[in-house]
Amino acid sequence: MIIRSKGFYDEFERKGGRRRTTHYCAGCGHGIIQKLIAEAMVDLGIQDDTVFVSPVGCAAFCYYYLDCGHVAGPHGRAAAVASGLVRAIPDKVVIAYQGDGDLGAIGFNNAFQAANRGDGFAHFFVNNALYAMTGGQLAPTTLPGQKTTTSPYGRDVVNTGEPLKVCEVFNQLDRPVYIERVSVADSKRIKQARKAIRKALEIQKEGKGYAFVEILSPCPTNMRADSVGAAEFVTKEMEGYFPLGVFRDRSDAETACCMEVAPKTVEEIVDADYAGDVIADMPELRERRYKFSGFGGQGILSLGLVIADAASEMGRHVSWFPSYGPEQRGGSASCSVVVSGREIGSPTIDHPDVLVAMNQPSLERFLPTLRQGAVLIYESSVPLNVEVPEGVNVHPFPAARIASENGVAKAANTALLGCMVELGLLDMPEAEIAEALRRSFSAKPKLIDSNMAVFEAAKEYARKELS
């Protein structure tokens, strides 16, 4: 019998390296850990069903070594990628592998939220108390007083906080099934690490949920020691802050903590009938660009939506692009609507054909962007004290008054819609607009009749006073 590594590619097709050696420094813990993962993967018979998410950091090249499926995560995002994978391929085993800079700093929230959701993957967290690939900088896990290239006098906990104890933090969450901290500093500890890694993968094989294994690991290069000295640092110094042990094991529980997600096809998600529609081009149709602006609550966004809905029902290309901001607290709200016979390049509008302005800031902001031939409709109770660009047709319109007089004080937007129809600015049959207006109140049918009254009154006013 020969005891040798399992689960690795026969050759590592890495640029510039030897074909049968890793890129890790002599004495690095990564190789030991990956040997344990690969071995467990093969022994459990899950090698062909495993997707390994590699991190950014020294372990970024895992996909050259372990013989399984791989996705390389952006910096810090291995847990987020794994969360996506468990939803996309729920019947596969997913492994996320991250270092302490990757998981503990930039990616902490992703890891924490994945643990909190109990996403069903094995999460291996390699802790060497520093950033290794970038040259030994201070990490969240760096020990108090530990010298790194960015803490040359030792970590000052007053300035930079205490070492981040990820197992202890995750152990406050309800969903994780298994949490253990192990080490690969010496033979006894490697034996325990081997058990923990196998356990985490068994939990995946059985679909039981989220398993987190933190592995204390020596980094001779950045610990400024030989392999034995670095391992001693892990045992004598790191274990003082990061005690080894099983924090939680609920793998025997009857019910899986893992969510059950039925996979869906793209067609199921987006509605196959709709996705199949192709909007025919109408090149003869001139592109119309509408800007609606007012304060939050005036129905500016809804006004744009009614027009967009009507155009969409007629099979035209439409974009509706709201500008959010502090408007929900009463600030300015605006939206841009583009209706076109061709595919729309951009939903944003620099120079509207029609500007509907319902308050002073809207006039100040957007009136100067109008060009010759453009149309301005503004709420006539607002004083027009902004210079009107040359060649712009200006229509003061008492939208608020018309709405009030017809019993729906809030329907100024409906009044403006009627005005636009009467002025012929919408390039669509009136019936289509009216139908879209009715549809917009489908959840509040009581408001349909009163709004239709406002709509008619507004048309009448525009016919008499504006045209």
């Binding site: 020969i2 005891i3 030897r18 050696t21 890790y24 004495g27 010496d186």
Partner: protein, 77 residues
């Protein structure tokens, strides 16, 4: 690589894969490994087996960070 064996367990150290980190030397409970004067193509002084005393415990294998640097050959199991 040969599996022909003198009948006793023994570590097989692959010259070009060993990085000479010495973890196996330190970990070996029988102290039958040492760092040799042999330098491989990468410039590492590699680990070497004394030639006898191995009990086949494979502790050197699990302490070795390289996937292919060390194997433990055992007879008849």
């Amino acid at each position: 690589m040969t599996t022909a064996s003198p009948g006793l367990p023994r570590p097989v150290i692959l010259v070009e894969e060993c990085k000479g980190c010495g973890r196996c030397v330190h970990a070996c409970p029988k102290k039958v490994l040492h760092i040799s004067d042999t330098v491989n193509g990468m410039g590492y002084r590699i680990a070497e087996y004394a030639g006898e005393g191995c009990v086949g415990c494979a502790i050197c294998f699990y302490n070795c960070p390289e996937p292919f640097a060390i194997e433990v050959h055992k007879e008849g199991e």
